[in-house]
Structure formats: structure tokens, C-alpha cells
């Protein structure tokens, strides 16, 4: 077979690349952001949740927090129009910044204060803080979007109605007897080694500013703490964080009034609630929401 000349080969190569890029650009222009479902590999549902928040109508209630609040799945709540923007491995301030930077606000923002020793994710804040939501990529990404569509089809978000009976069954079971001592010891060591003072002081200042900004625009913001296991409650990091936060926000009406039976709770690793306990904590928050939303 006759060999193709170099200029012809290179021209065809460049043309096919350009056509593919053009096609993807065109698809993006036609279908917009709805095609940009991020199929992430290691950031779990974080980006998916943030994308949904940026794209869908603003909900009534938003939770922001760390991996502790991340465990409180949206489907655990009977309250409709509730979004959990907690970021596993992230700071509550990141979610709060994103919420505060949107043109429209939810009626109620609930802010977890357990973990304020991490700096906010500036890249994430920047990405989701523009009007219109997430930054529109120029090109449609064929592989990731196909996988994202497949994963979303496979694991479509559940509604509370779909899981209500399963949640009831779970609550009726006795608390887990999983032996988490190894994890608790490790977490305790980490919590005792850390001195969260500097970042936490900066975080509470920023939280105060953002709350003022939210409330000036008609929203309401309340703080809440999720329980740790007893050894972790006594840890250096937890104590310092609690002292700083309560010194900054001493007024009781700034705090979400939630009640649960502590002996019923268990922690997978001393820090994060196990599934049954997460349901209990979620439902305790759920119970006070109608009154809070009704009073606004």
C-alpha cells in the first residue's frame, strides 16, 4: 500500500482532532451544563452534590459541614427541599462560602462546627461561586460524562419516601456492637496531637462574617455540633474548637436545638457516626425544622 505523505497525514490527524473537539464543543453549547455531570473517582459525591446545588432550584434548608455531617444523607430527612453540602475531608466554611456567594439563598443554613481546623477549599469556592453555578467547561467530556450518566442511572438519588421503611427498620435494631477501639485510639492520638487554634480562630471569624451576610439578605443561619464518642469529646482538639466556637457564638438562639439519646449512638471510628446513629441524628434535626421554617 502506498504510504501517505507527511503533510497529508498530519493534516488528517489535525482535522480529526479538530472535528472531535468541535463536536464536543457543540454538544456543550447545545446541552449546556446538564451534560457536565462529573464522574469523579475519589471525591465521592462532593462535586455531584455541588453541581446539583448550583443547577437546581435553591432548596429551603442547606447543611454545610465536614465528613461528620456528610454522613447525614439527604434521604434520611423527611423535610423536602433539603440539601447536604458537607464535604468529606473539607471545611464547613467551604460550603458556607459557596452558599453565600449564590445569587439566591436558602431560607435556613445549618452550619456544623465540629471541624473548623481546615482551611476552606479556595478552588472549589471559586468554581461554584460564579453566577449560574459551576464553571462551564468549554468542551463536552465524552468518557467521563458517559460514565457519570451510567453511574447516576445505576445509583439514582433516593427519596425519603423510598427509604422511610428501611430507616424505621434500622432504628428498631439495637445499637451496633462493632469493636472500634483501634480506630478510636488512632483518632484520639491525632486529635490530641493537633492544635487547631490558629485556623479555627480564622474560620469562626469568617463564619461570623458569612452569617451576617446571609442574614442581611434574609436567610437564617444556625450552628450545630455533632457528637463524638466520649474519648474524642475529651480530646484536646475537640475541646479547643468547642471553646473558640462558643466564645464567638455564646447566644443560645444561634444554635440549633437538637435532642437525641446519646446512649443510642455509635461511632464507626470514634469520630463519624455509624449509619443507624446518623439516621438518629438526622431525624433529631428533622424534627425541629418545621418549626424553624414555619417561623420565618
Amino acid at each position: 500500500m502506498e504510504r501517505m505523505s507527511a503533510p497529508r497525514w498530519l493534516a488528517r490527524c489535525a482535522l480529526s482532532a479538530a472535528l472531535l473537539l468541535f463536536g464536543c464543543g457543540l454538544a456543550t453549547a447545545w446541552f449546556g451544563n446538564s451534560l457536565q455531570v462529573p464522574a469523579t473517582t475519589t471525591r465521592d459525591g462532593t462535586l455531584i452534590t455541588l453541581n446539583r446545588y448550583a443547577r437546581e432550584p435553591i432548596p429551603d434548608v442547606v447543611l454545610v459541614g465536614s465528613s461528620l455531617t456528610f454522613r447525614l444523607k439527604e434521604e434520611y430527612f423527611a423535610t423536602p427541599r433539603l440539601r447536604n453540602l458537607a464535604l468529606a475531608g473539607g471545611s464547613p466554611v467551604t460550603g458556607l462560602e459557596i452558599v453565600a456567594n449564590q445569587p439566591r439563598l436558602p431560607r435556613l443554613v445549618l452550619i456544623e462546627t465540629n471541624v473548623l481546623s481546615r482551611a476552606p477549599d479556595a478552588a472549589l469556592v471559586e468554581r461554584y461561586s460564579r453566577s449560574g453555578g459551576a464553571a462551564d467547561p468549554l468542551f463536552f467530556r465524552p468518557v467521563r460524562t458517559a460514565v457519570a450518566a451510567y453511574e447516576n442511572w445505576l445509583h439514582a438519588p433516593l427519596s425519603h419516601a423510598q427509604v422511610a421503611s428501611a430507616l424505621d427498620q434500622l432504628r428498631k435494631q439495637p445499637p451496633s456492637n462493632f469493636d472500634n477501639r483501634v480506630y478510636v485510639e488512632r483518632a484520639l492520638q491525632q486529635f490530641n496531637d493537633q492544635d487547631p487554634t490558629v485556623v479555627t480562630l480564622a474560620s469562626v471569624d469568617r463564619v461570623e462574617q458569612l452569617i451576617a451576610s446571609l442574614e442581611a439578605r434574609g436567610s437564617r443561619a444556625l450552628l450545630f455540633e455533632l457528637p463524638y464518642s466520649q474519648p474524642l469529646e475529651e480530646s484536646r482538639s475537640a475541646k479547643i474548637t468547642r471553646e473558640i466556637v462558643h466564645a464567638k457564638f455564646p447566644a443560645p438562639d444561634r444554635w440549633l436545638p437538637i435532642a437525641y439519646s446519646r446512649p443510642e449512638l455509635r461511632w464507626a471510628d470514634g469520630v463519624h457516626l455509624d449509619e443507624r446513629s446518623a439516621v438518629i441524628a438526622s431525624q433529631s434535626i428533622d424534627r425541629v425544622l418545621p418549626a424553624l421554617l414555619g417561623s420565618q
Binding site: M1, M4, A6, R8, W9, L10, R12, C13, A14, L15, S16, A17, A18, L19, L20, L21, C24, A39, T40, T41, T42, D44, R71, F139, F140, R141, P142, V143, R144, V147, Y150, E151, F178, A268, H272, D274, E275
Partner: protein
């Protein structure tokens, strides 16, 4: 400056444009040397003097060895090995965190210098220069040519390790009309595609193999990640080597091919003729054969294999994990050696597939020691592969993405090159164009090349 940065693209474009200007044809070598020095010093200019010492020192020993090989060749090799040992293994003997590493200021300064990028590679180039060019008496090459051989930027950081006897004769005037554009484009596009699409995306998943993240993994995900890392390290290093070969072709130089579908090897000895070929060749000619190779009986051969592979492991880094990786490979070579002939006599496609799978499995398992240079972490990861996980909230890995990002490596290995040659010749430019678009659209998060650390 990494190959995947926009700065590197601009750098190559400028160097290429000036290189072929007719008035500058007599200065092509000098221009490439200057460009390579700029490339190396970009970001770490404090390491340029070290590079200069290595090149000038080697050149001096080359001239002396051409007069008296018996004395000066070992001294020259020792000089280069001492450089390598000093920078790579110094912290085996002293505490890196110590505030005062030595009482003497200049020594303290040297001790605090970071590991020079590519030192393992350019030291081997230096040794090859000394060995190859002193085999026969002749006039020494000019200093600029020596500089170019050692620091030619496409191969400076991570090879391929080119023999001096192969490279030096190529130093002649180059003409624009002689450029193998299509071949260069194929290498460069393939290299970037494997790096950006395969390696960088897989890296997002295999980062979970790092300590302490691996403790959160489910047992089956530990297994999956081992094989994904196997694909990743191949795509990463093959990608780098392919880009280097393509870039060198643009400047009229042909570098040796460094990979030849290593994961279809049916024996460990075959694997080492297909993986990092230039390093394997270097070790064979510069260490294994001088040690006696297979010329002194079975036991001595086994000992030589163990020494070469053990040192090969340590060449990658001063750590027990790297040593274990090399020793285990040596052991596998020793175990299979008496079995090779009987195994070859079994003519069965199924049996060959079983052998390929077994070699791939063992090679992949040993990459754990590469991924986790801390030996305790590597052992902990390994033991976790055989015990059920207790983490109630393991990270989620998308298996469909894992398959799609690994697919190019799998296709490359399983579909014969002749199939592409026969049936896809006409579609070839379109395939490469699609790869170019896909690597842009689907590029994973930026990560440095794995072999940069060596």
C-alpha cells in the same frame, strides 16, 4: 519544566524553530546544549553547577582514559558512582532533619542540595561514554558533543539511557527536510495520550494506595488498585519515553525504544527484555556480563542475577522496599531459569496465556514495593489484601472509569501491532487525531512523571 506543561510546549517550539534556521546550522549542537541547560536549570538553577561538574569531570577522565584505560576508566566510573551515591544515598548515613549536617559549611551546602533530577540517568550516560569511547583508541570527541550526549533535554531527566556508541555518531548537521514528522508525531501523541489520559487519571485512584489512605480501602479495592497501578506506571513511563523519542526525532536524533509490550511477557527474563529496555541493556552490558554473566556455572549465574537485580532495585532509591523489589525480581529470574527450556517445549496457546497472566500477576504484586517505598507500609498493604476490611465507610472507586482509563494499555498489549498495520493503516491519522482530542478532553489532574523521582 515538565513535558506536560505549556511552558515546555513553548520551549520546544522556540528551540525547534531556531534549530533549523540555515544560518545557524553550524551551531546546532551548541544551540541544543544551551537549550538543554536552560531546560535543566529552569526551576532548579542551583543544580547546574553540579551538572557541569559531572560533565567536565567525565570529559577529563575520558581524555585520561583514552591515554591509559586501565587506570583512568575505573577512576572515571568511580567518580560518577560517587556522585550518584552521595546524592542518592547520603541520608542512609545521616539524619536529613538534623540542623547541622556537617561542621564544614561547603559540605553542609552540598548535603542540603535536593536530589538532582535525572542524576541516575545522566550518571549512566557518563559511564557509558567512558566505557564505549575508550574501547578503541582514538581522538576524544569535542566537549560540546559530550555535553549534548549527556544533557540532551528529551532524555536528560528519565532516559531512555542511550549508549554513547549509538548516540555520538548521530551528531551531524541536521536538515528540516530529513525530519521524520509522521513518526515523531505518532510517538509524541502516543506518549502524551498515555500520560494524560491513562496515567494521570489512574493516579487519582491509585493515590488511595498511599499511607494511610489504603487503610480505608475494601479488600477487593486493594487488589484492584495493584493492577491499576501496574497499568499506571507503565503508561506513565512508556508515555515519557515515547515523548522523548518523538522529540529527539524532531531534532534528528534516534533514541532507543524503551518498552516493547512488557505485560505480554511469558517469562520474567522476557519481561526484562521488554520493560525499561535501555536500563536492562545497561545493566546487562555494564554489570551482569563483567560479573561473569552465565559463563561460570549455574550457581554463579544465579548469584550474578541476584546482585544485578538487587543493585537495580537500589538504583531506584535508597530503601528497603526498592531493594526488596529488586531482590524478588532476581529470585523470580533464578527460580524460572532452569524451567525455561521445559516450559518452552509446551506448545499451547492456553498455556502461554496462563504464563503471561502469572508473570503479569507477579510483576504487578511487586509494584507495591515501588508504590510504597516505606517497607512497613508495603507489607501492611500486602497483608491487608488477604484480610477482610473492617472499615464501614470505604471510599468509592468507579470501576467503569477504572476500565475505561486502563483500556488503552490493555488494547495496546492484546491487539497485535500487525492488525493495526494491516487493517487500520488508512485510519491511522484519524486514530491519532482522536487520541490527541481525547487526551485534551479527558486529561487527568496534573501529576509529575513517576520516574522523575529516580
Amino acid at each position: 519544566m515538565t513535558f506536560t506543561s505549556w511552558q515546555f510546549g513553548v520551549f520546544v517550539a522556540v528551540v525547534f524553530a531556531v534549530y533549523y534556521l540555515p544560518p545557524l546550522r553550524t551551531l546546532q549542537v551548541q544551540w541544543l546544549v544551551f537549550a538543554s541547560l536552560f531546560f535543566y536549570g529552569y526551576g532548579q538553577p542551583q543544580l547546574l553547577p553540579l551538572l557541569a561538574v559531572a560533565v567536565f569531570g567525565t570529559y577529563l577522565f575520558l581524555i585520561l582514559a583514552l591515554r591509559n584505560r586501565q587506570i583512568w576508566l575505573p577512576v572515571g566510573i568511580g567518580f560518577n558512582l560517587a556522585l550518584l551515591a552521595f546524592f542518592k544515598y547520603k541520608f542512609l548515613f545521616m539524619d536529613a532533619g538534623s540542623s547541622s549536617l556537617s561542621g564544614v559549611a561547603p559540605v553542609g551546602f552540598l548535603l542540603r542540595l535536593p536530589l538532582p533530577i535525572g542524576i541516575s540517568f545522566f550518571v549512566f550516560h557518563n559511564i557509558s561514554l567512558l566505557v564505549d569511547l575508550t574501547r578503541r583508541q582514538g581522538s576524544p570527541p569535542d566537549l560540546t558533543s559530550v555535553f549534548l550526549y549527556i544533557i540532551f533535554f528529551p532524555q536528560l531527566v528519565s532516559g531512555p539511557i542511550t549508549r554513547a556508541e549509538m548516540f555520538m555518531p548521530q551528531i551531524t548537521p541536521k536538515y528540516f527536510s530529513d525530519i521524520a514528522f509522521v513518526e515523531a508525531a505518532k510517538w509524541i501523541l502516543t506518549g502524551f495520550f498515555f500520560k494524560l489520559y491513562v496515567a494521570n487519571n489512574l493516579n487519582e485512584m491509585t493515590s488511595y494506595m498511599d499511607f494511610p489512605l489504603y487503610e480505608t480501602l475494601q479488600t477487593q479495592d486493594r487488589w484492584l488498585l495493584v493492577f491499576l497501578y501496574s497499568y499506571q506506571i507503565y503508561a506513565d513511563f512508556f508515555g515519557y519515553s515515547a515523548i522523548a523519542i518523538g522529540l529527539a526525532l524532531l531534532f534528528g536524533y534516534r533514541l532507543p525504544v524503551n518498552f516493547n509490550l512488557p505485560y505480554i511477557s511469558s517469562s520474567f527474563s522476557e519481561f526484562w527484555t521488554r520493560w525499561h529496555i535501555s536500563l536492562s541493556n545497561w545493566f546487562r552490558t555494564s554489570l551482569y556480563i563483567p560479573l561473569g554473566g552465565n559463563r561460570h556455572g549455574a550457581l554463579r549465574t544465579y548469584l550474578n542475577l541476584m546482585i544485578v537485580m538487587g543493585l537495580g532495585g537500589l538504583w531506584h532509591g535508597a530503601g528497603l522496599s526498592f531493594l526488596m523489589w529488586g531482590v524478588m525480581h532476581g529470585l523470580l529470574l533464578v527460580i524460572e531459569r532452569p524451567l525455561l527450556t521445559p516450559l518452552k517445549s509446551i506448545d499451547s496457546a492456553v498455556f502461554r496465556a496462563v504464563r503471561i497472566s502469572f508473570v503479569f500477576f507477579c510483576v504487578s504484586m511487586l509494584w507495591i514495593f515501588f508504590k510504597l517505598p516505606n517497607f512497613d507500609h508495603a507489607v501492611s498493604y500486602l497483608s491487608g489484601m488477604f484480610t477482610p476490611s473492617t472499615n464501614l465507610n470505604p471510599p468509592k472507586l468507579f470501576y467503569s472509569l477504572a476500565v475505561l482509563y486502563s483500556l488503552p494499555v490493555i488494547i495496546q498489549h492484546l491487539v497485535s501491532g500487525s492488525v493495526f498495520e494491516r487493517t487500520l493503516r488508512r485510519a491511522e491519522p484519524y486514530l491519532y487525531g482522536s487520541m490527541a482530542a481525547l487526551m485534551y478532553l479527558e486529561a487527568g489532574p496534573e501529576t509529575s512523571f513517576i520516574y522523575f523521582q529516580f
